[in-house]
């Protein structure tokens, strides 16, 4: 899914730390076991090959139009990188550019370009460039959900250059997503004295605030982020803080305050798919489907946003909903065929609400929870387990709730409901056995 989960705010360092995309596609990790069957599913998603008759027929529109600013920047960077293939500096510049483009547009092809470009440099990173090269490799690895490999890279980068804030921020982000809040807080703290440039402060506050929120201290999280918001001037930082404060206020049950923060974030007029995802989930929870359709029209190319749009369209019984459900199914099939499991959380939600297979949803949600343990990952696991009538399977989510003390009443209710179901469960076979 192309959810750009900007874990931390800020354009503070190296053109921005709003880079972490922990829900972004993982394209590696081949799961040979399940692939064979999946590749055979492909033809259903394909049309029939044809020979066009009109030479002027437009078959494809390129994402970067020649002549626009992006195209000029790309070709200049590509020329510089290929002129000195041995030199890591121009390669790093181009790879960073590809990486940022992937984040901005939610397009994983650019991640592939960056990785291919950097592969020779990963082998022979120069001493002075070690931290930057290793950090980039870590970013590319986390994109594929190779979190262990990414952590190793960020740690190595910090060792090579303890003052390299980017690596520190990334490591903290991965700790947060994987629910290791103590380790995360240590990295957030270490960010404080680094830099001193405008925005570094927001970065550290975002890191700390998120660890607090997920770790069951919503009031403290709110205070941390609100303090940072007062000082933040950069629009991207303000967007991040408003967006996350909205979530915190929603979890605290103050929907009015949440609404205010969402509107403030949206009024900044910066395209940000994390904000759109979070906002549309907020609206869906309140049954404000019309507003979701309005908010997400034009974002169909993003799988994550199309899924939320389809939920709203289905609820409103719009004619287009059926076509979008088909499209979602095809896209999930195409991703699975290449061994991509980064879509598990969204696919679980799709199966749960639209696909009609709670058992499959549960399987996917469990797979996802192994990698990622953010609130929305726990929620889909709990909901899928309850729907599938296998509440015992949601144990990892209940463990997470107990360990963190996460305060969202909705998720806590789901946890309690699933626990009640596991206790009620043993009675069921007995009742059946009593039948003649």
């Amino acid at each position: 899914m192309n959810l750009h989960h900007n874990l931390f705010p800020g354009q503070a360092i190296k053109g921005g730390l709003n880079l972490l995309s922990l829900h972004a596609p993982r394209a590696g990790l081949l799961r040979a076991t399940c692939l064979a069957a999946l590749v055979f599913l492909l033809p259903s998603a394909l049309a029939a090959p044809r020979v066009p008759t009109d030479p002027a027929e437009v078959l494809e529109r390129l994402p970067i139009r020649p002549g626009d600013t992006k195209a000029r920047e790309v070709s200049a960077l590509r020329a510089a990188a290929s002129a000195n293939p041995e030199d890591a500096v121009p390669a790093l510049k181009l790879a960073d550019y590809w990486y940022d483009l992937a984040m901005a547009r939610g397009d994983p092809r650019y991640i592939g370009y960056a990785e291919a470009l950097m592969t020779p440099h990963f082998v022979h990173a120069e001493r002075g460039r070690m931290a930057a090269v290793l950090t980039l490799r870590g970013q590319l690895r986390q994109y594929r959900h190779d979190f262990d490999g990414a952590l190793a890279d960020f740690s190595a980068a910090i060792k090579a250059d303890p003052g390299f804030a980017l690596a520190r921020a990334w490591r903290g982000a991965i700790h947060i997503v994987q629910a290791r809040y103590a380790e995360a807080s240590a990295d957030c703290e270490a960010l404080k004295p680094l830099g001193g440039k405008q925005g570094t402060d927001t970065l550290s506050a975002g890191c700390t605030g998120l660890a607090q929120a997920y770790g069951g201290q919503l009031a403290a999280a709110q205070a941390t982020m609100e303090r940072a918001l007062v000082r933040a001037t950069d629009p991207a930082n303000r967007l991040w803080l408003h967006g996350h404060l909205a979530e915190v206020m929603q979890w605290r049950g103050d929907l009015k305050a949440a609404e205010k923060h969402y509107l403030a974030a949206l009024s900044l007029n910066i395209e940000d798919s994390f904000l759109l995802t979070s906002r549309s989930e907020f609206l869906l929870d309140q049954g404000r489907h019309d507003e979701v359709v309005k908010l997400l029209s034009g974002w169909e190319s993003s799988d994550t946003l199309l899924l939320r749009l389809t939920f709203a369209e289905t609820a409103l019984k719009l004619p287009i909903a059926a076509a979008h459900r088909r499209t979602m199914r095809d896209r999930f099939a195409a991703a699975r065929a290449r061994g991509d499991t980064t879509h598990q959380a969204d696919e679980a939600r799709f199966e749960l609400q639209l696909g009609g297979s709670p058992a499959r949803a549960l399987e996917l949600a469990l797979g996802n929870f192994k990698d990622q343990r953010e609130p929305r990952d726990a929620r889909v696991l709990l909901e899928a387990a309850i729907a599938a009538g296998d509440a015992a399977a949601a144990q990892p989510a209940r463990d997470w709730l107990r360990a963190t003390g996460f305060e969202d009443p909705l998720i806590r209710r789901l946890g309690a409901a699933s626990l009640a179901q596991t206790k009620a469960k043993p009675a069921a076979p007995a009742a059946q056995g009593a039948k003649p």
Binding site: R50, G112, L318
Partner: protein
């Protein structure tokens, strides 16, 4: 409904329909490679995203940001060379493949060039190895989604930079199975080889008759007719086995137009000999001499089929025996009926004379067509 409100409703509907058009998703790069290997023969289809092709070799000639069919077809040769240079199929040595057709298709993330290809491998039985290198040098997240059918058994794999090489074991194709396969091909090709059947029938029609004192008589015994047939068929078989083997092993090769014309001529002469008997009693000699030519004809069929290097003799033998079995089936069906009817005017006039005349005319047309490269009959 007022006109204005109607217009608004129509526009809303149009907007709905427009957004219902498939929207290309953002997705990492994949190519879809389907390979079908049966014995020596390889066919397949390879779908490669136009966006990837543009990034790798450039398609947008006019720099408009749009790729048209004209721009793609102008680059067909370059696409084929670039793609096939990044795929190695080997079975007992590298298989030679060529792109046979260029099409386009749409997948979830946009338009794809579709390359259909065909070729042959050196071995029909060994394991198949695939080395896939498309785009890996410029896109590390690229994957090749392979669907392979190897001698009827389907395999699937995702080819990645670290897993771009794959060896797939062939199912245990025993030598016996291979022998049977070529035997069946042999039977099949005598049955669909109309000119061979007609030649044989032209020689067999008079087998139940005897030409004495410028008149045809029925032979006395079935045994006599059977002996004649045995001689003819054996001579034909021995002769074409010799030339088939020589041609299949590429010891002797003749131009196919020459061979095909000579085969047609042989049918003309065999039929003419029934109408104006010249050669009597030594019909086996006719069968033998023309059989030499027909052997070259069978060889061209075998060349299309391909002979596996590791089981050459066995396959050749199987094919040859198949041709014999096919012939024997024709003889077995023809001889008893002809023997029973040999003294009837129906056999003499309609089957023997009429059949010979029709055969002669038909073969004459074939000869003219083949020798002068003309088209007289359709099909």
């Amino acid at each position: 409904m007022s006109a204005r409100r109607f217009l608004v409703a129509v526009l809303a509907l149009a907007a709905t329909l427009l957004t219902a058009l498939p929207v290309s998703a953002h997705k990492a790069s994949d190519s879809y490679l389907s390979v079908n290997v049966k014995g020596l023969a390889v066919t397949g289809q390879w779908d490669i995203a136009l966006r990837d092709l543009d990034f790798a070799i450039g398609l947008d000639a006019d720099g408009s940001g749009e790729i048209t069919w004209g721009e793609v077809s102008a680059r067909h040769d370059a696409i084929a060379i670039w793609a096939l240079g990044r795929l190695t199929l080997a079975r007992g040595g590298a298989c030679e493949i060529k792109v046979t057709e260029h099409l386009v298709d749409t997948h979830t993330d946009g338009a794809y060039a579709v390359l259909r290809f065909a070729g042959t491998c050196p071995s029909a039985t060994q394991s198949l190895s695939i080395n896939y290198r498309l785009l890996f040098d410029i896109d590390a997240l690229h994957r090749g989604l392979l669907k392979l059918d190897l001698d009827g058994v389907t395999h699937a794999a995702v080819l990645a930079p670290t897993t771009g090489t794959l060896a797939v074991k062939a199912g245990e194709t025993s030598h016996l199975a291979q022998f049977v396969q070529y035997l069946v091909e042999g039977v099949w090709h005598i049955w669909i080889g109309f000119d061979h059947i007609l030649f044989l029938l032209a020689l067999l029609l008079p087998a139940v008759l005897l030409h004495e004192a410028k008149r045809w008589h029925g032979v006395a015994t079935f045994r006599k007719a059977g002996a004649e047939v045995l001689w003819v068929v054996t001579a034909f078989t021995v002769a074409h086995s010799i030339t088939l083997t020589l041609a299949a092993l590429q010891i002797v090769t003749l131009p196919s137009r020459w061979v095909e014309s000579a085969i047609a001529a042989s049918v003309v002469l065999a039929a003419a000999n029934n109408l104006f008997p010249l050669v009597q009693g030594r019909r086996w000699l006719v069968a033998f001499s023309f059989g030499l030519i027909h052997g070259f004809g069978f060889a061209s069929v075998l060349a299309d089929l391909g002979l596996p290097k590791d089981a050459l003799v066995l396959s050749l033998l199987g094919f040859n025996l198949g041709v014999e079995l096919g012939q024997l089936a024709i003889v077995a069906a023809f001889l008893p009926v002809a023997f029973v009817l040999r003294d009837t005017p129906f056999y003499r006039k309609i089957i023997f004379l009429g059949g010979s005349i029709v055969t002669l005319l038909l073969a004459l047309v074939w000869f003219i067509e083949r020798a002068f490269d003309l088209k007289l009959l359709s099909g």
